[in-house]
């Protein structure tokens, strides 16, 4: 997909001692760059570029969340075209303003998990559950199969994955309207 794209300089690949292979023998792992060492910006408009201050530039990086469910606001890894980590950001506040904004936008684009704000109906039939909800992204109907796709992340936080792989979340079901609370309590 990125065949036409200018390849950045690749540190590490040419140095055999940093290339990890299934050998059982550990090499010293490459330390990824950290938040204070890097700057992230868009250039041109649709491409995320990362520069290491005063060193080199990665023309296309992809921010991903290391733990998108439990720690969605922290632990961001920047991957290069070959899916190798080039930087790891422990805390987004360590970044400068622009970098943070770009990364946050990219993450918001990458992860789509609609937050359920109101449950209109839940119907259980033959081991399949039909949901009709309003989310922060609009109304939606979906179908969930089996209990393994309904996951309580805590006593009140509910994570759902429907049959197609759409993701939904109830952040705290006790905070919803009484009808939604009742539906969730009796059906989930």
């Amino acid at each position: 997909m990125s065949g036409e794209i200018e390849m950045p300089e690749e540190p590490g690949v040419d140095a055999p001692d940093t290339f990890e292979f299934e050998t059982g023998i550990e090499n010293a792992p490459v330390e990824p760059y950290q938040a204070h060492e890097i700057r992230v910006f868009r250039a041109p408009a649709h491409t995320v570029r990362m520069t290491v201050t005063g060193e080199r530039s990665y023309i296309r990086v992809r921010p991903v969340n290391a733990s998108p469910m439990a720690h969605s606001d922290r632990y961001v890894s920047l991957l290069d075209i070959k899916n190798e980590e080039v930087a790891f950001i422990r805390d987004m506040n360590d970044l400068d303003e622009e970098s943070r904004k770009v990364i946050e936008e990219e993450l918001a684009h990458r992860y789509l998990r609609a937050t359920i704000e109101c449950v209109h109906s839940i119907q259980m039939e033959y081991g399949v559950t039909y949901w009709d909800v309003t989310t922060d992204r609009g109304k939606r109907e979906f179908v969930i199969r089996g209990h393994e796709n309904t996951h309580w992340a805590s006593d009140t936080r509910l994570l759902l994955t429907d049959v197609d792989g759409n993701r939904f979340e109830v952040i705290d079901y006790t905070q919803l309207d009484p009808n939604s609370v009742r539906l969730i309590e009796t059906n989930v």
Binding site: F21, E22, T23, R113, Y126, G127, R137, R145, D164, G165
Partner: protein
């Protein structure tokens, strides 16, 4: 939507269709029109993508959009298009200049469709012939438009119960005679059951209350005692007859239900073993096992207990109602008053009851699951000293089950008490009005007693009819799930007229093969490889690069999506599966065993092999020695996972199994990992013995394993990036060279192929 693969058009809303027509230039024609369910800022709303032969346009559902400059992309500016899968959504990107620009977003529900469309756009941009072939999954029921529980699955709402019953009944057809007999016995039984209250009435009215009437009515005897004895005798006989009838009827129904389920289970099992890997990919083994056991079981209980129960009680109900009406229609109508109450009240409680029971079953399932998980991973639990935590988890779950149990039983108690209260209110009415009628002499005491006895008989089953409803729903949903599997066609089925190939030379050719496990996410692209008979190919590449996938295609666990795959020039799709698999042997890193002895496992593919052949194979596989060292030798029992064997032992047994199988094409997937050097040497030798004269595909991360390969094929991200002999690849200084370098750097012990004079190299001749 058309079947044509060069265009793809969904029906546009009128406003949009108008706007679109206006927007078209002279000679421009629409090739793709598709709706998506996600906006560019990720809201669930309809957006439209319209692609012509010149450009790509985006619209809102009402037609707004394309006038806006950003909403149009001219193909003259673009280089290519592709999908990108994100988390919880996906998008089509078009490369413009040297950056990727998002064109449209979609939710995973539309993934397959947009994968096709992206391909079409790419072809349009590159001015290649357009081919958007590929199936789009059915996600909604054709009849009621409901979302389906799984793509291409069946709609639970639309499968009607009657059709399902008929389907089950078909399984009973071979036992027509017994079925008829059972119905007949049920009829007799019903009549016999109806007898006693009637006799009671005669006893009370004609013998006890008005002995005179008996004399008058029955001229032959005249003695009330004789009459009483006669009646009591009749009573006893009727009871006895109904007792005997019940025994025979129940036996028959148990037999019939059991037989039906045996055939259903047989069909289910047979189909499960025929289904393709793609089917298994998407399902949990646990849920399939539950279909074989639980679902067929719930069907069985319904057939054995439920159906006969419904049958006799319906007959009984009809009989009773007729008799009641004949006796006194006024009283009967009175009695029927509580019934609507019973139905409404029952319905109300029933909803609550079901909810409580559902919670209970859910928690119960979790508890069982947790216990099962603990037991199957007991080693891990112990290693990490987590018994206490597991116990805590279990305790809280156990507590939850108690709560659920208590709640549901509480509801149930209320429900059943209410039902009996309503029932007895009917009886109160009968006592009141019936009693008055007796005093008024318009009704006889016997008739009243009979009436009351029939009422009891009628209320009793009514109480359970509600239950029967859930019972039957459970059985029906069980039946549905079972038949769904029975009806799933094996995806990689033989053609009607498969080519027979008893002998294969072992020439394999991949040409332009594209393959995806999930539509839209290809894991292999443009694979081209021509393998000569007897050649040994080493497949190397990073984890996840598609090595195993290539071999899966060769075994035809999956069908290729595009391109061709032939064996001896015959397309793999045309070869009968049985012949194909007979010619292919697979040795995996993690071999699967069946419970049985070592010998049985080795001769799994050819059960007729003699023990000597088994031993010869084991010796060739370097497995003989350790097998003999076991107390039970070749008769050592191994469990399903071969738990009693070490990793290296398992591998050697698997190799022996492949040797007996004697395939022309051999696949070794990581057959030599995770063993010590000595064992690896033994396995290497075993493999060397096995490989001789067979076309071999060997996958290994330890490149040393592949030094005997004639040719190495390097895969990277689903593409073949290098092919050649060891030396050629090293000279290329490309991917392979780097891999070797890193491996050499990290393992001094395992020197790799290119280096002559390596002490490991002359290990071949050695026999232990």
């Amino acid at each position: 939507m058309t079947d044509n693969t060069t265009t793809y058009e969904e029906r546009m809303p009128d406003a949009l269709a108008d706007r679109c027509r206006e927007a078209l230039r002279e000679g421009e024609s629409v090739r793709i029109a598709a709706a998506t369910d996600l906006t560019e800022d990720l809201r669930f709303e309809e957006r439209w993508l319209v692609v012509t032969d010149q450009r790509l346009m985006r619209f809102e559902a009402n037609g707004a959009g394309a006038a806006n400059g950003n909403a149009t992309i001219e193909f003259s500016d673009a280089k290519s298009a592709a999908v990108e899968e994100l988390v919880g959504s996906g998008r089509i990107n078009v490369v413009i200049g040297n950056e990727e620009v998002e064109v449209i977003r979609y939710t995973p529900s539309e993934r397959a469709k947009f994968a096709r469309i992206a391909r079409g756009i790419d072809q349009l941009i590159k001015k290649e012939p357009v081919n958007m072939q590929g199936e789009v999954d059915r996600t909604r029921c054709d009849r009621c438009r409901r979302l389906l529980p799984e793509p291409n699955g069946i709609c639970s709402a639309c499968t009607n119960r009657l059709a399902m019953m008929r389907r089950i009944a078909r399984y009973a057809l071979p036992f027509k005679g017994r079925l008829a007999l059972m119905v007949f016995l049920s009829l007799l039984f019903t009549l016999a059951e109806l007898g006693p209250p009637y006799i009671m009435r005669i006893i009370i009215d004609d013998v006890l209350v008005e002995p005179g009437a008996a004399e008058a009515g029955d001229a032959t005897t005249g003695d009330p005692f004789t009459f009483l004895y006669l009646l009591v005798g009749a009573y006893a006989v009727v009871r006895l007859v109904s007792f005997v009838l019940e025994i025979f009827k129940d036996r028959l129904s148990v037999w019939l239900g059991g037989r039906v389920i045996v055939s259903v289970r047989e069909d289910l099992y047979e189909n499960l073993s025929r289904l393709s890997m793609k089917f298994y990919n998407k399902r949990q083994v646990g849920s399939l096992i539950s279909r074989v056991s639980n679902d067929t079981e719930s069907m069985m209980w319904f057939l054995v207990d439920g159906v006969p129960y419904i049958l006799t009680n319906l007959l009984l109900l009809v009989g009773i109602l007729v008799l009641l009406f004949v006796t006194s229609w006024q009283l009967t109508l009175l009695v029927l008053i509580p019934i609507p109450l019973l139905v409404i009240g029952g319905g109300f409680f029933w909803v609550r009851l079901i909810r409580a029971f559902r919670t209970k079953y859910y928690r119960w399932g979790k508890l069982v699951g947790m216990a099962g998980e603990m037991l199957s991973s007991v080693r891990v639990v112990k290693t990490f000293v987590q018994e206490k935590r597991e116990m805590r988890r279990f305790r809280s779950s156990n507590e939850g089950v108690f709560q659920g149990d208590y709640e549901s039983e509480k509801e149930a108690a209320v429900f059943f008490s209410t039902v009996s209260m309503l029932t007895s209110s009917g009886l109160i009415l009968v006592w009141f009005y019936g009693g008055s009628a007796v005093i008024d002499d318009t009704f006889t005491p016997g008739a009243l007693m009979m009436f009351i006895a029939y009422l009891w008989m009628m209320y009793e089953p009514l109480r359970w009819f509600g239950e029967l409803n859930t019972w039957s729903s459970r059985a029906m949903s069980g039946a549905e799930k079972v038949f769904e599997i029975v009806d799933t066609p094996a995806e990689t089925e033989d053609l009607d007229d498969p080519v027979e190939m008893k002998d294969v030379r072992g020439e394999v050719e991949f040409s332009d093969v594209v393959f995806a496990y999930e539509a839209g996410k290809p894991v292999l692209h443009d694979i081209n490889l021509h393998v000569q008979p007897g050649e040994m190919i080493g497949l190397v590449g990073k984890s996840g690069s598609g090595k195993t996938t290539m071999t899966n295609l060769l075994c035809r666990f999956y069908d290729i999506d595009e391109g061709g795959l032939t064996i001896d020039g015959v397309p793999i799709r045309d070869i009968s599966l049985e012949d194909l698999r007979r010619q292919i042997g697979v040795v995996l890193q993690d071999s699967y065993f069946f419970s049985g002895s070592v010998a049985e496992n080795i001769r799994y593919s050819s059960p007729d092999a003699s023990i000597e052949q088994v031993m010869r194979a084991a010796r060739t596989a370097n497995a003989h020695d350790f097998i003999c060292a076991k107390p039970d030798g070749y008769d050592t029992q191994i469990g399903e996972n071969g738990k009693e064997l070490s990793g290296g032992e398992k591998q050697r047994i698997a190799i022996a199994r492949a040797i007996i199988h004697d395939p022309r094409i051999l696949i070794l997937d990581e057959a030599t990992s995770s063993v010590d050097t000595h064992t690896e040497k033994l396995i290497q030798e075993a493999i060397a013995n096995l490989v001789k004269g067979r076309t071999t595909f060997a996958i290994a991360h330890r490149l040393s394993t592949l030094r005997r390969a004639d040719r190495l094929v390097v895969l990277d991200a689903g593409k073949i990036v290098e092919t050649g002999t060891h030396e050629e690849l090293l000279d290329m200084k490309g991917h392979f060279y780097r891999m070797v370098e890193t491996q050499r750097a990290s393992t001094a012990v395992m020197a790799v192929g290119g280096s002559r004079g390596d002490p490991n190299r002359d290990a071949n001749g050695h026999k232990s």
